[in-house]
Assembly symmetry: C2
Homo-oligomer: 356 residues x 2
Amino acid sequence: MNEQSPGQPAAGHTDLPTTTNQVLIREVPKGPLEADHFALQVAQLPALGQGDVLVETLAITIGAGQRAGLQGSAGYAGPAESDVVMTGTGVGRVLASNHDAIAPDDIVMGLTGWSEHAVLTGDRLSIVDSTVAPSTLLGALGTNGLTAYFGLLDVGDPQPGETVVVSAAGGSVGHLVGQIAKRRGCTVVGVAGSDEKCASLIDDLGFDRAVNYKSTDFRAEFKAATPDRIDIYFDNTGGDILGSALFRMNTHGRIVCCGVVSQYDTASPDPGPRGVPGLLVNNRVRMQGFLVFDYADRFAEARAEISSWLASGDITARTTEFNGLSAAPRAFVDLLAGRTVGTTVINVASPTTPQP
Amino acid sequence: MNEQSPGQPAAGHTDLPTTTNQVLIREVPKGPLEADHFALQVAQLPALGQGDVLVETLAITIGAGQRAGLQGSAGYAGPAESDVVMTGTGVGRVLASNHDAIAPDDIVMGLTGWSEHAVLTGDRLSIVDSTVAPSTLLGALGTNGLTAYFGLLDVGDPQPGETVVVSAAGGSVGHLVGQIAKRRGCTVVGVAGSDEKCASLIDDLGFDRAVNYKSTDFRAEFKAATPDRIDIYFDNTGGDILGSALFRMNTHGRIVCCGVVSQYDTASPDPGPRGVPGLLVNNRVRMQGFLVFDYADRFAEARAEISSWLASGDITARTTEFNGLSAAPRAFVDLLAGRTVGTTVINVASPTTPQP
């Protein structure tokens, strides 16, 4: 992706790598994603330009929303292309730096992509706390945690006693949304894809109720689980679950549109649910899409609060971890199939492994 | 609808009517509405109870949204029933009153229903300015004008220089929305159902551009008419026009969900447009349903401002008027077919006609 010729980094470790393993998008998927839409390759690392940093990737995270980025139509990240390194957020250790504010052995977070090593623009990296596990930096303190925090608290504006329903409730964002809503004194109902996940939401994470959307009686069970109807529906899925929620909204309810996982793993998304926008009118419902990047100037404040909740045990961060970069395509498929819980993390390199 | 036996009103005119012509819902429509879903009948008027008022209806208005009330499913007004008097807002002259604050010859507005005379609960009526034409009281100063006012200004929050698009732009609410938006310094694009309506929006009402949604090139023409995309889409239609607008929204755009006229004249509304809610997320769009009744405590303020705009000629109120109660079913069908412009008004009795 960088046209510069390979060369020796300017400063830092000796025996620096000149090549890296990385995962390419081999083919933009036309139907459900499969692991062989990706290919592992070895690539030369470019020379460090002024302001660049050579990073050894420690861990990356994969979010279901990234599947939307592989659709032909342009989402917020633009249309998908094949034969490029798969994009993604990671945490890495700096091996060499040509950037004034970043030093070797700093731990940084940014768009490392699916690559064991990468030459990155230092200005686009954040130095992070090296005492915090990469999986926490990428999960509860990363985009997932911030998305749950601002989506629920800012867009949803929960009030004590209100009923909050969250879909993909066992997922990276959903499991945090429910716990934050409990802290605000709300009744929390999760929607997830297995009885086991539903039980864990209640038993381990303190949700009040949970409903399995794969149940043949889903609509009736969903109704029974929301006897006071719904004040805030935090929507990670769209599709039929959104359709059911639309019919259960209280007057002046809020629908927080965070993601559309039901529509990602396809080249041709379904029409919207029946009743949009008529039901919005009848119940004066607000349905609002948001992207967490718009809250960048408040990330520090949010991370401080989430950290305090993690430290006190008030919220529990879940991760599903895979080892080795080559596991990333399979992890992505598992994530989309609902076989992961919490934040999906690929441990690319051990933070304590010395360089060969 | 009233179980009391007929009797003589308590006070007021002599020779008061004891019967009335009224229009019944003969059959809840299963497909498109037809005039013969209604039936004219003569009914006895009940005696005036304490607090009741006998009203001679001068004019009623019909709104497309009332068609939703005739669908089997429950909207905000509850499910439809046959063999009841068709509901509706009207302006009438008081013939007799058992209410302390309402006197004979007062002009009142309220739910008269489709009835030449009616015995109504005085507490549910408002005394209105007898020097203002009933069609204005029911249009620009009635629910339509208030809906345009609060929907655009409060839910939409237009800023100077923004692009406002309104569907059913020649309709009772739409033609006022566009004119109010122009007053706020917005670029205004109307969507209407004929080239003639489109020309009138531009030439007579000052819209910047207008697009005929029945054009075979609608999508291309709609795109060409919104070169700066859309900041506020005021949606009176839902359906395909909403679908097109969703793809043209600017970041942080607002969709004001006012009505769903594309879905009213059927027993089985379509699914929502493709791209809901994914497009809301990508462009951080807010889509908000509202009902004007929620703004009741600000109606007086809004009416004063709209009156000043009408007086100065800054906005022009359009009506399509029909004469005689028996014209109401046909007027309703015409309204749903897009054959009316502005507020649809039925002149039930002349305000100056003396009682026989």
